[in-house]
Symmetry: C2
Subunit: 492 residues, 2 copies
């Protein structure tokens, strides 16, 4: 079964790629660093997107759509943001191809169709959006502006990995405008909490909420809030960020508003985003050597029913009963597929749905029918039980909630076991190599020390947790005084 | 009221732009030919997208996502397709910017970061998708492949118009693969019918279904099916297309499958798409000089309730009753907003919601409350009636259906009045200038005649209607024999 998937113990990184490819989440493409999101992966993304979209709308946001391209002169307006993204920009320089005069049937870029100003393919949309907001905001009555966009963005990464780091990816980016600093900060924190709720309650993945150090901040932000999750190999993964942008973009694009007293001031901004990278986190956190494990609340398909039969007559009898169960499950809001295709044996189907992470599998044969039972298998624990057909729908309903909770509990236990305090450098290095996870250690607060620790260990400061306990101590590297521990980890 | 909107009689084209901008559907952007879709416009698109997506899924399709970029060598593989789109391609040639050494704070394209192979920003995705399908299809068991993608595409148009023709637009593109020619043709026709149903039943816009002539065919297709609608100025607008691609792309990308007899053959293909252009059609077909008119089934908001009050006490009393009505409406699945904001007078609000095309407006004042009634105004006919609060929810429920039907009926009557037979050239030209709409005339079937008619009159053959009546006649231009009438029109 599923021998094609490399085990985690053997090669975690290869295991990850195998899972993605064999479970049909995604495929490589002909474009360097870009992937194809296959139907199974896209259905998963749709469920995640729809839930997030609902939560954004419940917190008062509306969707809009801004251009894919950013003219270079706008792109460079907010200097730090431009600097941060300049090295990974795809740039459109021409708007036409023509037939190669030396090679019929081939095309070349038409040198006569050079753009006067180059267009950057958006790596993020602050520039194009704040240039637009300038026309939309005059007075405090126009604020707050609470807009979200679902879009594709491009960042020309040199080393790419399916879902985790691709040249093009899908995401949402919220861009809000406010009359006061405090209101913008409140929005930043609110959206961080929305992300944390979504990732914990739907993706079943516990996170630490915190603030980034200056070196890890979003280019152009005053503060970057983040949620950080742990993968099964003990590495951390940034699952979402929410930025307090201060008045940086308002100043760069000259966006002022008149307040109730008719006084002009620059507008306060936030931006926040999560991306298809979350799918990478989901795979790495929960799956096993047999394939995907998907939390029921976002699984593209929650239940599959496989008939086990010899001959048409048995199939007809089984199908009759299954159709009733399907109806009962659907009435409970459960997504279910009856796989009665005759082009594969049950064992093959079992392995296939296991690989794809379908949370519950029901198998039913002629003997089961006689006994009025079916075999219910849960993907997370790989256990089976025989359940009466009379109560099977209700049983599955409860089982799905149990699986959701179980997946979360396992990840939570792993996280709790992998937040380790360390007070000496030797211990710190040893922990990183032998145990991994988050290491809570004192840091002297300087970028130089942070950089030095990164050079020596490849560990970075993932975040300063929100509501962090204040405690006097000595920096793990320099011994200089420190007021609090921060979370270090090697990270994706 | 709404004096800012140019009247249709005065300048139809300016009226259209005014409507889009003043009703907050969209805005111009800093990027040549690209627009910003504002929240009101995007919410409309979301409703259209969700309904279409549902219909695609009901017909067995699944969604996926393919890269934004197409390497030039793939782009040129299907020659006719490449030829058709080469002249309007945005081309990425570099992947990095750097600081301008002559001008600190400015960026230039880094000449050291030139791509080995240029990337075309997808104008349509047949090439990248069929290159991917090659890896997914080996046997008849892998067929049919029924995949749809929601995406942005870029076509570098020289003359752009909001929604109707923009350099970047949003759309969906279905790309299916089949084992037989007939199955592919059936799929092409099925999706044409899905489009027709959607446009007629949801957008309230009657269409003619037909086939394009060879000159108007999609580049790379064997046959292009289309739905054509009429705008209020008598010009036609292509609202959706469904292409039978034969084996053209399978041959270009070498996609073969082994059939049940183990015989290898090229795969048969279709592609089909509709875009944000539909919003342009919606505006042009239904709206009036006071603003948008939106069919209730896709309106972002169906009902708005405006209180008319003096002082806080009256507002409290009205709100109490309105909250009950809001609850009743929501229980009927109706989207409703209670606008009790105190920053604008009722008259201003009325004009605003009228401009935005909200189908039903309820106004309720202190006197109404005493009489247990409210004033219900419908946007399409601009009529009002006083309705008892006891039955208002049910009344509005029925009214929304009536409005949907009424908008369709009006457009249908217009369409029927504007399909005119013509049998002489002078009459044909006169009809085009004075009556417009579709002109059903005989054509000798040659591309040369079609081209000549276009040169002389700017009218094109919109389509050869499906199930067209066969009738001997003489070509409207050349007098040569013809077997059927085709539909001519000037078009967007
Ligand atoms: Zn049980
Ligand atoms: Zn009535």
């Amino acid at each position: 079964m599923a021998k094609e998937i490399t085990s985690r113990a053997q090669d975690y990184s290869q295991w990850y790629n195998d899972i993605i490819l064999k479970s049909d989440l995604a495929d490589y493409s002909a474009v360097r660093g870009c992937m194809v999101i296959k139907p199974h992966g896209f259905a998963l993304w749709e469920n995640m997107r729809d839930q997030l979209d609902k939560m954004f709308k419940e917190t008062g946001h509306v969707n809009a759509y801004f251009p894919l391209f950013v003219p270079k002169s706008l792109f460079e307006a907010e200097e730090k943001n431009a600097e941060g993204f300049a090295k990974e920009c795809a740039v459109v320089t021409h708007y036409r191809l023509k037939t190669d005069p030396d090679n019929k049937g081939k095309l070349i870029v038409d040198p006569d169709a050079k753009l006067e100003e180059e267009l950057v393919v958006r790596p993020t949309s602050e520039a194009i959006i704040w240039n637009t907001y300038k026309g939309w905001i005059q007075s405090y009555r126009d604020l707050p502006l609470l807009i979200n966009q679902w879009a594709n963005v491009v960042r020309w990464e040199m080393r790419t990995r399916l879902f985790l780091r691709t040249a093009e990816f899908l995401w949402q980016e919220g861009h809000t405008a406010h009359a006061t600093r405090q209101e913008a900060i409140d929005e930043t924190v609110q959206m961080l909490n929305v992300y944390a709720t979504f990732v914990e309650e739907y993706m079943a993945l516990p996170v630490v909420k915190g603030i980034k150090t200056e070196s890890e901040r979003f280019a152009g932000a005053e503060d970057t809030y983040c949620i950080e999750a742990l993968m099964q190999d003990g590495k951390a993964l940034q699952a979402g960020t929410s930025h307090f942008l201060g008045q940086n973009f308002a100043k760069a694009f000259d966006v002022k508003f008149s307040d109730r007293e008719n006084k002009l001031d620059y507008v306060w901004a936030t931006s926040w985003g999560v991306s298809t990278r979350l799918i990478g986190a989901l795979v790495m956190a929960h799956s096993d050597d047999d394939g995907l494990i998907l939390p029921p609340r976002i699984a593209p398909l929650q239940v599959v029913i496989v008939p086990i039969f010899k001959g048409e007559e048995q199939l007809v009898q089984i199908s009759e009963k299954v159709n009733v169960i399907v109806k009962e499950l659907k009435a409970l809001g459960i997504s279910v597929k009856y796989d009665n295709s005759d082009n594969a044996r049950p064992g093959w189907k079992f392995a296939e749905y296991e690989k794809k992470g379908i949370p519950v599998r029901i198998a039913i044969g002629a003997r089961d029918l006689e006994n009025n039972v079916a075999e219910v298998a849960r993907r997370d624990e790989k256990t089976k039980e025989s359940i009466s057909l009379d109560s099977i729908a209700q049983h599955v309903h409860e089982l799905l909630e149990e699986i959701q909770q179980n997946i979360y509990n396992k990840a939570k236990a792993y996280q709790q076991e992998h937040i380790t305090k360390s007070d000496s450098w030797d211990d710190f290095v040893k922990l990183l190599d032998e145990k991994a996870g988050f290491i809570a250690a004192h840091w002297d607060g300087t970028a130089a020390t942070e950089e030095k620790i990164k050079e020596l260990t490849k560990a970075t400061i993932r975040c300063i947790p929100l509501d962090n306990e204040q405690e006097a101590g000595k920096c793990i590297l320099t011994g200089n005084p420190s007021t609090q521990r921060v979370l270090f980890a090697r990270a994706y």
